[in-house]
C-alpha cells in the first residue's frame, strides 16, 4: 500500500468522526467515501477540498501542480479574507502540458518552486498534487523534500489528486498535511494562559473578525486560526495553544483530535452562528482555558460580555421579529451549519419547515431533531429535480442555501439567501445574526418574489402558477 492510500485509509478510520464510530469494524475499513454515481451531479474533488482548507493561510504561496484547469477554477474563488498578506490570492500553477506528461513534470515543478522562492520569498510554499501528475507518477513528496532542503524553506506537499475522493476527504487530507509538516515546527515568541486555536474556521466574508473583538476584549488570544486569516508561523506554532474550538467538524476533526492526542490541547465543537451558539462558544472557550489553568475570573468577565452582547443583539433583532414571525424557512446546507443556523432563525421567530443533512453527522442530526422537534423534515441527498419539486410543494417562504442550489430555488420561484461560503455578507457572531436577519428580511420583502411567482399577465393557462400563488 503506498503512502497516499495509507493516508486516505487512516483518515477514513478517524476515531473522532462520529459517523465512523458508529460503524462496525469491517465497514469502517471500507471508508466513508460514498461512491459517486456516474452521471449524477457531484460536488468538488479532494484537491478542491484541500485548497479550500489551506488557501486561507495568507502569507504562503499555494502552488498547484497540474494542468491549468485545477488552479484556473480554484484561483481566489472563496472570499476568505486576509487582514494583511495577499500572496494567497495570487494564482500559482505549473500549468503542465503534453511535454510534461510525456517526460514527467517533476523538474518543471521544482523549477516553479524555485521561481516562487526567488520572486516572492514566502515563509512557505504549499504544493498541491492533482490527478494528471499523480497518474504519470510525479513524486510530489520527493520534489518538495528536495526543494525544501535546497532553498532552506518549508515546501509542504499536499497530496490530494482529485481522484482519491470527495471534497470533504480533501479537507481532511489538508489537515493531515498540516499535522505532518507544519504544526509544531516553530515556536511562538511568547505564550499566555489565554491562547486558543480555532479550527475549521476560514474567515469567509471576514466572519472571524466579527468574533475576534469579543475575544480581544476578554484577553483571549487566537494563537492560530486554522486556517482563516492565518499566517504560516501561527499555524506552525499552534501546538502551544491551551485549548481549541472546532468550528467545522466535518472538515477538520482529525486536526483537532490529533492535536489533543499529541499536544494535550482539549477542544470542543461549537458554532458562531446564532446568539445562543455564540454565547455557548464564548462560555466553552473560557471554561476550557480556566480548566487549563487560566484565572477563574475569566468566567465572570465572559458572562458579563455575553449578557451585554445578547441584550444588544436581541434589541436589534426585535424590530424584525414582528415581520419575520411565522415565516417558513427551508435550509439547504451542510454540516454544522444546519443546526446552528436553525437556532438562529428560531430566535427571529421563523419556522423551519425542512433542513438538509447531507453533510451532517448523526450528532448534528440529533441536535436538529432536538431543536425543531418533529415539525421539520430532514432531507439527505437531493437531486435538483427533487429539490425543485420539494420547493414547490414545501410551502416555504424562503430558502437558505449555498450557491449551487441558488438557481434551483430561483427556478422554483423561491426567495433565496446565500448562507454558504461564496456569500458576501458575514453572519457570524452577535453582529452576524443581526446581519442575517436583515438579509432575510430583505430577501423576503423584495418585490421580485411576488413578480416571480406570477405568470406573465397574459398567460391565461393558470395551471401550476395559480396553484403556487394560492399556497405561497
Amino acid at each position: 500500500m503506498n503512502t497516499l492510500s495509507a493516508k486516505v485509509q487512516s483518515v477514513f478510520e478517524e476515531p473522532g468522526c462520529a459517523t465512523n464510530q458508529a460503524k462496525p469494524d469491517k465497514e469502517r475499513k471500507k471508508g466513508c467515501n460514498k461512491l459517486l454515481a456516474p452521471g449524477a451531479a457531484a460536488g468538488g474533488c479532494a484537491f478542491d477540498g484541500a485548497k479550500i482548507a489551506l488557501q486561507p493561510i495568507t502569507d504562503v504561496a499555494h502552488l498547484v501542480h497540474g494542468p491549468i484547469g485545477c488552479e484556473g477554477h480554484s484561483w481566489d474563488g472563496r472570499g476568505s479574507k486576509s487582514s494583511g498578506p495577499m500572496l494567497y490570492r495570487t494564482g500559482f500553477t505549473t500549468d503542465i502540458t503534453e511535454q510534461d506528461i510525456i517526460f514527467g513534470g517533476e523538474k518543471h515543478l521544482y523549477k516553479a518552486i524555485k521561481e516562487i522562492v526567488e520572486k516572492y520569498n514566502p515563509p512557505a510554499v504549499f504544493v498541491y498534487q492533482t490527478c494528471v501528475p499523480a497518474m504519470i507518477g510525479d513524486d510530489l513528496e520527493a520534489v518538495c523534500k528536495a526543494a525544501s532542503a535546497k532553498f532552506g524553506k518549508p515546501v509542504i506537499p499536499v497530496n490530494v489528486p482529485g481522484f482519491v475522493g470527495s471534497k470533504n476527504l480533501g479537507n481532511k487530507l489538508a489537515g493531515e498535511a498540516l499535522l505532518d509538516y507544519v504544526i509544531g515546527t516553530e515556536e511562538p515568541a511568547e505564550t499566555t494562559p489565554y491562547d486558543i486555536n480555532i479550527i475549521g474556521e476560514y474567515n469567509l466574508s471576514g466572519e472571524l473578525w466579527q468574533v475576534k473583538p469579543l475575544l480581544d476584549e476578554l484577553g483571549i488570544r487566537i494563537l492560530a486560526c486554522i486556517s482563516g486569516d492565518s499566517r504560516y508561523h501561527e499555524v506552525a506554532c499552534s501546538h502551544r495553544a491551551r485549548a481549541a474550538m472546532m468550528v467545522c467538524s466535518k472538515a477538520m476533526i482529525n486536526v483537532a483530535r490529533k492535536m489533543e492526542e499529541r499536544y494535550g490541547i482539549p477542544f470542543f465543537e461549537g458554532s458562531f452562528y446564532g446568539i445562543g451558539d455564540m454565547s455557548e462558544a464564548l462560555r466553552n472557550i473560557s471554561g476550557l482555558l480556566v480548566e487549563r489553568g487560566a484565572p477563574a475570573e475569566l468566567l465572570e468577565r465572559t458572562e458579563a460580555v455575553i449578557a451585554r452582547e445578547e441584550e444588544r443583539a436581541w434589541s436589534r433583532i426585535a424590530p424584525f421579529r414582528e415581520r419575520l414571525t411565522g415565516k417558513r424557512v427551508l435550509l439547504f446546507t451542510g454540516g454544522v451549519k444546519s443546526w446552528s443556523v436553525v437556532a438562529a432563525l428560531q430566535e427571529a421567530g421563523m419556522v423551519i419547515v425542512g433542513t438538509s443533512t447531507k453533510k451532517s453527522t448523526p450528532d448534528d442530526k440529533q441536535r436538529i431533531k432536538e431543536l425543531v422537534k418533529d415539525d421539520a423534515h430532514m432531507f439527505d441527498d437531493l437531486k435538483p429535480r427533487e429539490m425543485y419539486k420539494m420547493l414547490r410543494e414545501a410551502r416555504a417562504d424562503i430558502m437558505l442555501s449555498g450557491g449551487r442550489t441558488q438557481f434551483v430555488a430561483l427556478k422554483a420561484m423561491m426567495p433565496w439567501l446565500d448562507i454558504n461560503q461564496e456569500r458576501h455578507e458575514a453572519y457570524a457572531g452577535y453582529e452576524g445574526i443581526v446581519a442575517l436577519i436583515r438579509e432575510i428580511d430583505k430577501a423576503l420583502f423584495n418585490p421580485i418574489w411576488e413578480q416571480i411567482r406570477k405568470p406573465a399577465p397574459w398567460d391565461a393557462v393558470a395551471g401550476q402558477h395559480e396553484l403556487w400563488i394560492q399556497v405561497a
Binding site: 472570499g79 479574507k81 441558488q406 430583505k442 423584495n446 418585490p447 421580485i448 413578480q451 406573465a456 399577465p457
Partner: protein
C-alpha cells in the same frame, strides 16, 4: 519650459508640470487676491448644508444647470424621423448649429438641419425673405422629399406667421407647390424639447391628414386595424425603435412607426454619406390616419399630438417611458388588446429571463437609494423600474416636469412600500439636486452626462441613463424598452454597483481584503 517643439505635451499632462503649477500658484497668490484657504473651505462646506439648501430652494429667478433643452431641439428630432426630411428651423443659425452638434455628440452621427439664418434686418422687417430664400436654397442643395419647418425664439418674438410665409414662398417658386412643407411654432421660451417634439409631430400629421394647409382635401378616416407607434424624444431611439419593431414583428402586428429615427442616427460606415436614411415614409404617414389606435411611449412628448389623433376617432394610449417587467407587460398587453394579436411564447420567455435576472441580483439592489433626474417620462419609467427592483428612488427631479408630472410621480411612489420617504421635485434644476444629494445622500445618481459634475461634487456615483450622453459612446444603440431593454438597464445599474464595490476595496494593503473576484 516643459513644452517644446520636439515633444509637445497635451492638456492631460501639460499643466501638471512643475513650471505651470508654480506659475499658476504664483499668479493666484500675486494677482488674484485669493481668499484664505480656510475661508474657501468654510464656504464650500456651507454650500453642502441644510441652511444653504433652504436658500437654494428659495431661488426664484435663477436656473443653475438645467436638465432640459429647448423646443426646436425636439422639433429637429421629430422631423428627422421621416423619410428624406430636412428640418428647417426658421430663425437664427446659431441655434441650429447647437441642435446639430448636440445630436451629433450624443449619437456620434452627422445630423442634418438648416436654418433660415435670420439676421438683424430680418428681425426688424420680418423673416419672410429668409423663408423664401431659405426654402429655395435648401430644396435645390439638399434635395429633400419633405421640409419640416419649426422656429427659434427670434422668429417667434417678432411673430412671423409660418403658414403665410410658406404659402408665399411656394408662390414665389422656392419649392414646388405640391412639396410637403409642414410646420410648427416651437418657441424655446415655452416648454422644453419634449414640447417641441409634440408640436412638430402634430404639425406633420396635421399637414398630411388635414389637407396640406388648404392645398388638398382632408383625408377621410377608414379604420384598418393597424397600430401607430410613437417613441417620443428619446436618447435611446436607435436601440429602442429597433427593439419595438422586433417585438411587434414577433407578435405579427401591423403597425406604422410615426417618427422612426433609428436609421438616420445609425448609418453604416461604408464610404457613402447618407444625409437621409430610413424614417417613416410620407405615404405611411398619411395612411396612419386610418389606424385603429395610436400608442405613445411618452405621454409628455405627445400631449397635443395624441389629442389631435384622438380627434380623428382613433383610440390613443400613452405610457410613461415604460422600463422593466411591469411596464413592458402593460405595453405589450395594450398592443395585444388593440391589435388582437396574442403575445407569443418567445416574448413570454424573454419576460421570464428578465424576471430571472432581477431575482439573481436582487440582493445587491434591494434597498439601495437612488436619485433620478431627466425628462418627465423617463424619470417615471425609471422610478417604476427601481421600485420593481426593491430600490428606493429617493429624489425624483425633472426640470421640465410640471404639476401633472409631479402628481403622477407621487402616485407611483405611494403605490409601493419602497416609495416611502421618496420625494418628487418638479421644475427644479441640477443645483437643487446638488443640495438634495448633500443633505439627503443616496447611493447612486441616475442622469445624463451633466450628472458627472454632481458625481464629482457629492461623490455620488453616476449611472448614465438619459439624454444627452456625451462622454460615453454608443449607449443609444442599446434599447431600454422591452424586456431586453429592462435587462440593459438592470446591467447598467449592477455594473455601477459592482464598480463602486471594487473601487472602495482596491487600495493595496488597505482595503483590498474585500477586493473579490466573485461578486
Amino acid at each position: 519650459m516643459s513644452q517644446n517643439a520636439e515633444k509637445v505635451i497635451d492638456h492631460f499632462e501639460l499643466f501638471r508640470g512643475k513650471e505651470y503649477t508654480e506659475m499658476l500658484a504664483n499668479k493666484k497668490c500675486l494677482f488674484e487676491d485669493p481668499v484664505a484657504t480656510e475661508e474657501l473651505e468654510r464656504v464650500a462646506e456651507w454650500t453642502k448644508s441644510a441652511e444653504y439648501r433652504e436658500k437654494n430652494f428659495a431661488r426664484e429667478a435663477l436656473t443653475v444647470n438645467p436638465a432640459k433643452a429647448c423646443q426646436p431641439l425636439g422639433a429637429v428630432f421629430a422631423a428627422l424621423g421621416f423619410e428624406r426630411t430636412l428640418p428647417f428651423v426658421h430663425g437664427s443659425q446659431g441655434c441650429v448649429a447647437y441642435y446639430r452638434s448636440h445630436f451629433s455628440r450624443h449619437f456620434k452621427e452627422p445630423t442634418s438641419a438648416v436654418s433660415s439664418s435670420m439676421t438683424e434686418d430680418a428681425a426688424v422687417f420680418g423673416g419672410l425673405n429668409n423663408m423664401i430664400d431659405g426654402l429655395a436654397n435648401s430644396y435645390s442643395m439638399y434635395k429633400p422629399k419633405m421640409i419640416s419647418v419649426s422656429t427659434t425664439c427670434m422668429a417667434e418674438v417678432i411673430g412671423d406667421d409660418l403658414n403665410a410665409f410658406i404659402k408665399n414662398a411656394k408662390e414665389n417658386g422656392s419649392v414646388p407647390a405640391e412639396m410637403d412643407v409642414p410646420f410648427a411654432h416651437t418657441p424655446a421660451f415655452v416648454g422644453s424639447h419634449v414640447t417641441g417634439y409634440d408640436n412638430t409631430l402634430k404639425g406633420i400629421l396635421e399637414h398630411f391628414w388635414d389637407g396640406k394647409a388648404g392645398t388638398a382635401p382632408k383625408l377621410e378616416r377608414l379604420p384598418n386595424g393597424k397600430l401607430n407607434f410613437i417613441g417620443g424624444f428619446d436618447g435611446y431611439t436607435v436601440g429602442n425603435i429597433r427593439e419595438i419593431k422586433r417585438l411587434l414583428d414577433l407578435m405579427g402586428v401591423e403597425y406604422t412607426i410615426l417618427g422612426d429615427n433609428s436609421d438616420v442616427w445609425d448609418t453604416p460606415g461604408d464610404g457613402e454619406f447618407r444625409m437621409y436614411d430610413g424614417g417613416t415614409t410620407l405615404e405611411d404617414t398619411a395612411e396612419a390616419i386610418h389606424a385603429g389606435a395610436t400608442i405613445s411611449m411618452q405621454e409628455f412628448c405627445t400631449d397635443k399630438t395624441l389629442d389631435f389623433i384622438g380627434s380623428k376617432g382613433q383610440e390613443v394610449i400613452a405610457f410613461n417611458h415604460p422600463v422593466g417587467v411591469e411596464g413592458t407587460d402593460r405595453f405589450l398587453m395594450e398592443v395585444s388588446r388593440l391589435s388582437g394579436k396574442a403575445i407569443p411564447p418567445a416574448v413570454t420567455k424573454e419576460r421570464g429571463r428578465l424576471v430571472d435576472a432581477i431575482a439573481d441580483s436582487s440582493a445587491h439592489i434591494h434597498g439601495k437609494k437612488f436619485a433620478i433626474y431627466g425628462d418627465p417620462d423617463l424619470t417615471l419609467g425609471l422610478a417604476g423600474f427601481l421600485l420593481e427592483l426593491g430600490a428606493e428612488p429617493v429624489h425624483i427631479l425633472s426640470t421640465n416636469g410640471g404639476a401633472v408630472w409631479k402628481e403622477k410621480a407621487e402616485a407611483l411612489l405611494a403605490g409601493s412600500p419602497f416609495g416611502k420617504g421618496c420625494h418628487v421635485y418638479a421644475g427644479k434644476d441640477l443645483w437643487h439636486m446638488r443640495s438634495l444629494l448633500f443633505t439627503e445622500p443616496v447611493d447612486f445618481l441616475i442622469g445624463n452626462t451633466y450628472g458627472k459634475f454632481l458625481e464629482r461634487d457629492t461623490s455620488t456615483p453616476l449611472i448614465r441613463i438619459g439624454f444627452p450622453i456625451f462622454d460615453r459612446h454608443h449607449h443609444h444603440r442599446y434599447p431600454v424598452w422591452g424586456y431586453q431593454g429592462g435587462m440593459n438597464v438592470l446591467v447598467k445599474i449592477l455594473d455601477k454597483i459592482f464598480d463602486q464595490m471594487d473601487q472602495s476595496t482596491n487600495d493595496v494593503a488597505k482595503t483590498d481584503y474585500s477586493f473579490d473576484i466573485i461578486r
